[in-house]
């Protein structure tokens, strides 16, 4: 590791080599090269379409939908990735050129410009993920504001029906595929290698590529508003056969999911290999922090489940553009097949969007209660139980779908059984704060806020799990309330907890505590005022995904809309806090929360290769209150005692 330490002392030789001058600059990886390679690949894509159609004798040879699909949504993004240099190393290797010795020039960030190129440093990639996902969070949030504006009164206000259907479809897709899932991946990208005592992820180039697929997916989904006929409007669930008969915007969703899904799968593989092979000496599985456990289970879910949604979207797209009949009854297709494949991914996806949050909550609650996490092993095992059970419940989204009726009771039983491991987690968090020395700094507010909101979301999940109640409430605002209690009160609250918790580590500066607390309370109150009444109008008879509704729901909807605008405005406090604290916040100590996990034992922000010397892990990560207990031994620290090394 000495060579790393030497690099550390001499940052001048790091950073990207100075780009060549003149025309050769056009060949240098970066946005300039992407600016000509993207149109070039678009042209190649168009050429393939035209050639194939001419050769096959299909008319017209130039067909807008196919050109957009192959040229703009498939080939052009590949050109962009090639242009910025995501494939350079592999291409050089594949064509047999001498590979360049790794000089770490693509590693670390020395100026803001380094965040805008292909960077292999997991910490830089983590920040790239977070900045990108927050951008799409804001975009998705604005779409939600437009949805609530339309719903403030019965009747049609601002949008026509197709536009309205597009608004909520893109809102959900951005929040799910471009915010919650990748925001967790971003936080984990920054934190997991540090927590493991590793210098980086196992496959840094793959890590960089996974990130750069994301903006492509997000821009694709957003730009569907510009497609002829408007944005995709069949909901984020995109049920066939409606989605097959929609305007061109649908293929922007079909392909956006492919890019986001590929990103997700690559990152998950990377996490799995990193967690299995790159743990520091002494870091046994039973010594891993629960955040690492959570990302381990999440990655397994991603790797197993994501190919199913990729398949479902390909089938819809083939039905639409190639006139296959996967889901078209007239041609022998089976519409319910779509729902089965879709939910076989999308139910596990609910856990993909929640388990990393469980991990964050465990870290924060233990540190800010100054107590070991209660029932550590059962906490890890309940994650695994959710992983396994999570694959056996998909059809609870389909109780009224017309599927085989006998399937409902078994799916109800497995669904209700998931309440048990989830309950174990909630009760263990409560037992962890019990008799603790609670410090309600902003991350802890979000974490405890998460537990309380998630309990409500979990209980409304019990209603939906019971088939008779689900038959009444399915596809009503009760479901809208439930998913927002789980994904907003659950996932988003923990994302905020994580952002505030690791902000000092990521930026080297402390956020503004007062503004952090203000942000929490505004969000907490606005969130409940917005989403709790939705339970009521749902059971009373208001369906979801409607731009117009019966006048009896007018008062509540106006109330909800006003509350939602306040909720939206609370985000401004968050952004202001982040931007000003990043620039002018007080310098952060290396371990402001007095936490034991490894990421807090290095400087804030961490050195370029994380650890000058590989740490020796000697104990559990949550031994608060245990006299003399240590999690790991680092540089300059007293060496591990024999008992510590032996006692696993």
């Amino acid at each position: 590791m000495t060579s790393i330490a030497e690099h550390e002392r001499d940052p001048v030789q790091h950073g990207p080599p100075r780009p060549p001058g003149g025309l050769r600059r056009l060949l240098y990886p970066g946005f300039l090269r992407a600016a000509w390679m993207t149109p070039l690949f678009f042209g190649i894509g168009c050429g393939i379409v035209v050639l194939a159609r001419w050769w096959g004798g299909w008319h017209p040879i130039w067909l807008g939908e196919i050109i957009v699909l192959v040229g703009a949504l498939t080939a052009a993004p590949v050109g962009f990735l090639a242009g910025i240099g995501a494939f350079d190393y592999w291409v050089r290797y594949a064509i047999g050129s001498p590979t360049e010795p790794e000089d770490h020039s693509g590693h670390g960030a020395y100026s803001w410009k380094d965040y805008f190129r292909v960077n292999t440093d997991h910490k830089v990639i983590g920040m790239q993920y977070l900045a990108t996902t927050i951008f799409f969070f804001l975009a998705g949030g604005l779409l939600a504001m437009l949805v609530r504006a339309e719903l403030a009164k019965p009747g049609m206000q601002f949008f026509d029906n197709q536009t309205y259907n597009g608004l909520f479809s893109v809102h959900a897709s951005l929040m799910i595929f471009l915010f919650v899932i990748p925001a967790f991946a971003g936080l984990a990208n920054f934190v997991v290698p540090l927590m493991l005592g590793a210098p980086d992820m196992a496959f840094p180039r793959l890590n960089a590529l996974s990130y750069w697929l994301l903006p492509i997916a997000g821009i694709m989904m957003l730009s569907s508003f510009a497609a002829p006929g408007g944005a995709f409007a069949a909901g984020w669930t995109g049920y066939a056969p409606l989605s097959i008969h929609q305007p061109m915007g649908t293929i922007f969703f079909n392909m956006g999911v492919q890019w986001a899904g590929a990103s997700s799968i690559m990152t998950a593989l990377n996490f799995l290999v990193t967690i299995i092979t790159m743990r520091a000496p002494g870091m046994t599985f039973w010594r891993m922090p629960l955040l690492v456990w959570a990302n381990f289970t999440t990655s397994l879910l991603v790797v197993i489940a994501t190919p199913f949604i990729a398949g479902s979207q390909f089938f819809v797209m083939f039905d639409k553009v190639m006139h296959t009949h996967f889901f078209d009854v007239a041609g022998g297709g089976y519409p319910l097949g779509y729902q089965h494949i879709f939910w076989f991914y999308s139910h596990p996806a609910v856990y993909i969007m929640m388990l990393p949050g469980f991990g964050i909550a465990s870290e924060v609650i233990s540190v800010f209660s100054r107590k070991p996490i209660f029932g550590y092993r059962l906490m890890a095992l309940s994650l695994m139980a959710i992983l396994v059970l999570g694959f056996s419940v998909w059809a609870h989204h389909m109780f009224v779908s017309g599927m085989a009726p006998w399937l409902r009771v078994p799916m109800m039983i497995t669904t209700l059984m998931i309440a048990v491991p989830t309950g174990i987690k909630v009760f263990s968090w409560l037992a962890t704060i019990w008799e603790g020395k609670l410090n309600f700094a902003t991350p802890m507010l979000w974490a405890v806020g998460f537990v309380s909101m998630f309990v409500i979301g979990g209980l409304s999940g019990i209603y939906l799990g019971a088939v008779p109640i689900d038959i009444h409430t399915s596809d009503t605002y009760f479901v809208v309330a439930h998913i927002h209690y789980v994904l907003f009160g659950g996932s988003l609250f923990t994302i905020f907890a994580g952002i505030y918790y690791w902000f000092p580590k990521m930026t080297g500066r402390q956020y503004n505590e007062k503004l952090g607390k203000l942000h929490f309370w505004l969000t907490f109150v606005g969130f409940n005022l917005t989403f709790f009444p939705m339970h009521l109008i749902g059971t009373q008879g208001m369906p979801r995904r409607v731009s117009d509704y019966a006048p009896q729901f007018g008062t509540w909807n106006l109330f909800i809309s006003i509350a939602s605008f306040a909720l939206g405005a609370s985000t401004i406090v968050f952004l202001y806090n982040m931007v000003t604290s990043m620039r002018r916040g007080a310098p952060a100590e290396s371990n402001p929360w007095r936490a034991l996990t490894l990421e807090w034992q290095v400087s804030s922000p961490p050195p370029i290769f994380n650890f000058d010397e590989i740490p020796q892990v000697v104990g559990n990560p949550y031994e608060y209150g245990v006299p003399g207990a240590r999690h790991a031994v680092l540089n300059g620290d007293r060496a591990a005692t024999d008992t510590e090394v032996r006692s696993h």
Binding site: V420, I424, W434, K437, P468, Q540, D548
Partner: protein, 235 residues
């Protein structure tokens, strides 16, 4: 724990339970019940609500008490007691939720089986959904067509669902029953209306442009009035 703390904890729990019960009882959560199935579904709803209020009260009491009592003083840098777990407690909070959800599953399965069984001599109606309206035929009355669903009170009805284009969903909140209409499939839905009146029929599966407006109504009539209507020629 001291006895005083236990009393405080219980008081908070009771208060939380009272607030939750008020939220459950004061607003009108469910529309008027107009079918026998609705009565049974409402029973499951309130059964689950009771269990949820119980769980909510415990969790709320613990959180509120902890936030109130265990806050560290600003200058207190000490750690809490190093409690790593308690096997007995962990068994309890695994076993009790398992029993509660098992009870919910059993009650639900029984109600589902009852709601799925059509009564003797049911009235059969074909329901057709297409973008964006509903229509019906009555096979027992010479396939009499109708654009409004009319049903006799207190007679078991079997609705056979047909979708002509995309997915739709048949929902009458007052009946509580719901069924998707799927191209190529003919799922059925059982309803036994038990209250004369006119109720909204709502499409609850996103079906395109006019989905929000795909609303209609169901008229539940006295049996003799229904027979007279059904015997008339034409829609």
């Amino acid at each position: 724990m001291r006895r005083g703390s236990i009393v405080q904890l219980i008081v908070i729990g009771v208060l939380a339970g009272a607030v939750a019960s008020a939220v459950a009882l004061i607003p009108n959560w469910l529309p008027t019940s107009a079918s026998r199935e609705a009565g049974r579904i409402d029973f499951v709803f309130w059964f689950v609500t009771g269990i949820c209020i119980f769980v909510f009260s415990i969790v709320a009491a613990v959180i509120i008490y902890a936030v109130w009592k265990f806050r560290a003083k600003p200058d207190d840098d000490s750690d809490g007691p190093p409690i790593h777990g308690n096997t007995g407690l962990e068994i309890v909070w695994t076993a009790i939720p398992t029993m509660l959800v098992t009870a919910i599953a059993i009650v639900s399965a029984i109600v589902l089986a009852k709601d799925d069984a059509a009564g003797a001599n049911p009235l059969r109606v074909n329901v057709y959904a297409q973008q964006f309206f509903w229509s019906y035929t009555y096979p027992g009355f010479g396939n009499k067509p109708s654009v409004i669903l009319r049903l006799p009170v207190n007679r078991s009805v079997v609705l056979t669902m047909h979708a002509k284009d995309v997915l739709h969903s048949f929902w009458v909140p007052e009946f509580r029953q719901k069924q998707d209409l799927v191209p190529g499939l003919t799922p059925t839905l059982h309803i036994t209306p038990d209250r004369v009146g006119t109720y909204p029929l709502i499409c609850t599966e996103l079906c395109g442009l006019g989905h929000a407006l795909m609303r209609s109504r169901v008229i539940v009539m006295q049996p003799d009035a229904f027979e007279r209507w059904a015997a008339r020629k034409g829609p």
